[in-house]
């Protein structure tokens, strides 16, 4: 039996009608496409208005339409509107097609005749396509109420707390021995200058004690299976060699441990730590971890000092890595950033010359709990600097390294200038290309630091050298730069240089992304679902991103994203189940030859292979509907709902007006 198709052409005021002769289009459809099943064709001022929608609903009920085509704006705008309208009238929403004659016709063309002709062709394509549409039911999957948060920095902490306070269980996985992330290493936070630790540690403690949070530090996610609402996540708990059941965190083991190594994680290489250690005093959890590769016992089989002195016999040299699996409904990725390594810019002398610090090293240097107890001094540990140079944009805004702006370096450098001024009264030079202070009371902070007498020199530093060309340069670090505002070459001798190194994606961001089925941009940051309207969701349903994994950002923005991600998940959990667009691929087992070509094509590993029956099968909930497998299947055994071969081939014929009389079509094509 042939379909009864209703065609509706929208004027969109004059947006469409101004260029496209909408009346002609609807008449053309009514007559020329009659034998294609079009029983009614109308045009109306605003199809999306309630009156316009009622028009459709009325026709569906009275004329018994089996298909609907609306020629109006982009489906991204109103597809849902018209589909719901059809649903109200008892027609399966997926039997309604929206073709764009505004964004892709009236707004981009000027010749009325040609535009009208194209509108007709586009419409005819829609009609041919809709004939092959199938009634679909949206997929509903239950949401597991537990969530996983990966990364224990401030973003992850925020997300975890919001979720837990909302009464949902959270697994917080952190690969370091303690949560806290970069923020725990900072001294002060701009622009308010409140002590980073003072505002962070309470949150960390909350996480530690929260009944709804399972804290898994010194652990890493190794495998992610399943799909939104029903993830199954494998986590490796690395051996701590400390039985946390017995350990009281008294710290005697650390005290007694005879061996020290450089701590290049928390202290950024600025200080040493014991081989068995608690990363920092306020660490959560407060259990020590034993660094086996460096441990004398593991190297030589002797020592065991920690074990001897432990009052509760909590040291366990036989502890092994432990693999656990958890079931969660949603995931937040908050794995943060790595610092750009200034060694990559040899002319800045980092690692070659004394008294050149990275931003992170300097944070430790002026941190009260840091190696110098917060005294800003040169490498000799006593002399305070008389002049300090702070270099902005190190590794950022530079095609030789990272093209993007790291967003926080300007404010960070200005903060450093203030701290140095406050604690040493030294002469300070900031070398910048542009000053970027786009945040609440950021500009005011900049003004304040200007007011403190810090020199701001506009110019990208050419090099930092110890080679003196004049007596006053002897024994100093000389910063060579063009002061672009006065157009003069300057060589500025300083005692200390701080390199405001940029932010980079984690070295292993790509692999992590693969693990969770999300993609990295060219820069290496994770791609959000929409850069403006959906910055925390990803293309993988149920996986969210928060903080610097999505791109460089300051603490407030990071916290906001953590909270936002949590709120999104909260909502999903409340719904109990989620509906997925039924645009999915499915395999007809009778046609499947079991060649397995499709298996490796799927980036979401939604296709599993049944050895026994030698056929492949697609997990509808995992499938994202890209259709690559459909196109690739040599046996034509895979079909994609919503984008089937029939639909597309028919649309091609429609667009080329094969469906109507040739003489006529010539006229239209011309």
């Amino acid at each position: 039996m042939s379909e009864k198709i209703g065609v509706y052409v929208c004027h969109c005021g004059t947006n469409i009608a101004g260029i496209v002769n909408v009346e002609e289009v609807s008449q053309w459809a009514g007559s020329r496409l009659k034998d294609r099943g079009v029983v009614i064709a109308r045009d109306y001022k605003f199809m999306c208005s309630s009156l316009g929608q009622e028009l459709i609903e009325k026709d569906i009920k009275e004329l018994g339409l089996t298909r609907v085509v609306v020629a109006a704006c982009s489906p991204h705008l109103h597809e849902r509107t018209f589909r719901t309208a059809c649903e109200r009238a008892g027609l399966n929403p997926y039997l309604c097609e929206l073709v764009s004659i505004r964004e892709q016709v009236s707004w981009v063309h000027t010749d009325k005749i040609a535009a009208t002709a194209k509108a007709e062709a586009v419409l005819s394509g829609g009609v041919e396509r809709v004939i092959h549409n199938e009634p679909l039911e949206p997929l509903k999957v239950p949401i597991h109420p537990d969530s996983l948060v990966v990364g224990g920095g401030i973003a992850g902490i925020q997300a975890a707390l919001e979720l837990a306070d909302g009464g949902n269980h959270v697994y917080l996985v952190e690969r370091e021995p303690s949560i806290g992330g970069h923020m725990a290493q900072f001294d002060k936070t701009f622009p308010t200058l409140d002590c980073s630790a003072c505002i962070l540690t309470p949150r960390m403690v909350q996480v530690g004690n929260h009944p709804n949070i399972t804290l898994l530090t010194w652990s890493e996610v190794t495998k992610v299976d399943g799909y939104v609402g029903n993830f199954e996540v494998a986590i490796k708990k690395k051996a701590r060699y400390v039985n946390t059941e017995l350990c009281t965190g008294c710290g005697i083991c650390v005290e007694k441990c005879p061996k020290k190594v450089v701590d290049d994680v928390f202290e950024a290489g600025m200080a040493k730590r014991k081989v068995i250690y608690i990363p920092f005093p306020q660490a959560v959890p407060n259990f020590p971890v034993l660094d086996a590769p460096n441990c004398t016992f593991f190297q030589k089989g002797t020592c065991k000092a920690c074990e001897k002195f432990c009052p509760t016999n909590a040291i366990d040299f036989n502890q092994k890595d432990e693999d656990i699996t958890v079931k969660v409904g949603n995931i937040v990725l908050a794995t943060g950033y790595d610092l750009f390594n200034p060694r990559r810019i040899p002319q800045y002398g980092y690692g070659r010359l004394e008294n050149i610090f990275t931003s992170l090293e300097f944070e430790r240097l002026c941190n009260a709990s840091g190696p110098t107890g917060g005294n800003i001094v040169l490498k000799d540990g006593i002399t305070p600097p008389k002049t300090v140079g702070i270099v902005h944009c190190v590794g950022s805004r530079d095609q030789n390294y990272n093209g993007y702006c790291s967003a926080i370096c300007c404010m960070q450098s200005i903060k450093f200038a203030h701290l140095v001024h406050e604690r040493t009264g030294a002469d300070i030079y900031n070398f910048y290309i542009d000053i970027r202070t786009p945040g609440k009371s950021y500009e005011e902070f900049y003004q304040r630091v200007l007011d403190e007498g810090t020199h701001f020199v506009r110019g990208k530093v050419a090099e930092v050298t110890e080679v003196a060309r004049s007596p006053e340069e002897e024994g100093k670090l000389i910063i060579q730069v063009e002061d672009t505002l006065i157009g003069k070459q300057r060589r500025i001798p300083v005692d200390m240089v701080i390199l405001s190194a940029g932010l980079e994606p984690r070295y292993d961001a790509k692999e992590t992304g693969k693990l969770f089925g999300i993609a990295c941009s060219a820069d290496g940051w994770y791609i959000e679902r929409h850069p403006k309207l959906d910055p925390i969701a990803t293309m993988t349903e149920g996986v969210f991103i928060a903080g610097c994994v999505q791109g460089p950002k300051d603490i407030p923005a990071t916290v906001a994203q953590g909270a936002a991600a949590a709120a999104r998940i909260q909502g999903k959990i409340q719904q109990g189940e989620i509906t997925l667009e039924p645009i999915r691929a499915s395999i007809n087992e009778d046609q499947c030859s079991g060649c397995r070509i499709c298996n490796d094509l799927c980036p979401f590993s939604a296709i599993l292979y049944h050895e026994d029956r030698a056929v492949s099968e697609i997990n509808a909930a995992l499938c994202q509907g890209c259709g690559t497998c459909v196109a690739a299947c040599p046996a034509g055994a895979i079909s994609g709902t919503g984008f089937s071969n029939e639909q597309i081939l028919a649309q091609i014929e429609g667009l080329l007006l094969l469906n109507i009389d040739q003489k006529e079509s010539k006229k239209v094509l011309a």
């Binding site: 002319q347 095609q399 030789n400 290309i433 110019g459 990208k460 050419a462 070459q489």
Partner: protein, 186 residues
């Protein structure tokens, strides 16, 4: 819609290998000037010159001695954060100024032209032929020193008195003429 020919476009068209050089991407950060070993001898720093090109100050740019002071050491090129091959840009300006016959005052242009003419004549570079192209512009004392140096070099056997010529010189010259019509005086 043909955009009008700005100076920066004109110059861009003179840089084939660097695909016109992304001059407009310049951040005016000044790392080129800060790096340049000859900057103290330039009327305008490389950064300023690029700015002037962007501002379409054609005459001022061509009048500047900056590009003739470039030693083509490429230090700026490798450091430019915008990926501009500044040394190549300087070459382009040199070409432009030679064509427009600017800078009779400087040695650079005469030297380059003399050099090329010599190559076209013999196929090899050879100081004694080259010297006359620039020596006249030297001060007497400098001339004397040049001569001194030359004679010592000759004694050390480091300066042959007869130029070498290519065997396939005729072909060579026809080849050159395929590219540019200079060396006609042959």
């Amino acid at each position: 819609m043909e955009a009008e020919l700005t100076f920066s476009r004109e110059i861009g068209n003179l840089m084939y290998a660097s695909h016109g050089n992304p001059i407009k991407d310049c951040l005016q950060c000044g790392i080129c000037s800060g790096t340049c070993p000859a900057v103290e001898f330039m009327e305008h720093s490389p950064r300023t010159l690029i700015g002037m090109i962007g501002a379409d100050l054609k005459d001022e740019v061509l009048a500047s001695n900056t590009y003739w002071s470039c030693a083509s050491c490429y230090s700026c090129t490798v450091r430019c954060p915008a990926g501009i091959d500044i040394a190549d840009l300087m070459y382009a300006l040199k070409r432009y100024s030679i064509w427009k016959g600017k800078h009779e005052d400087l040695i650079g242009p005469a030297f380059s032209e003399g050099f090329v003419k010599m190559i076209v004549r013999t196929g090899r570079s050879f100081e004694p032929i080259l010297a006359p192209t620039y020596l006249p512009r030297f001060k007497a004392i400098d001339l004397f020193r040049e001569a001194q140096t030359a004679s010592t070099l000759i004694l050390k056997g480091r300066m042959p008195l007869l130029p070498k010529k290519l065997k396939g010189l005729k072909n060579f010259q026809r080849m050159v003429k395929r590219i540019i019509p200079i060396g006609e005086e042959e």
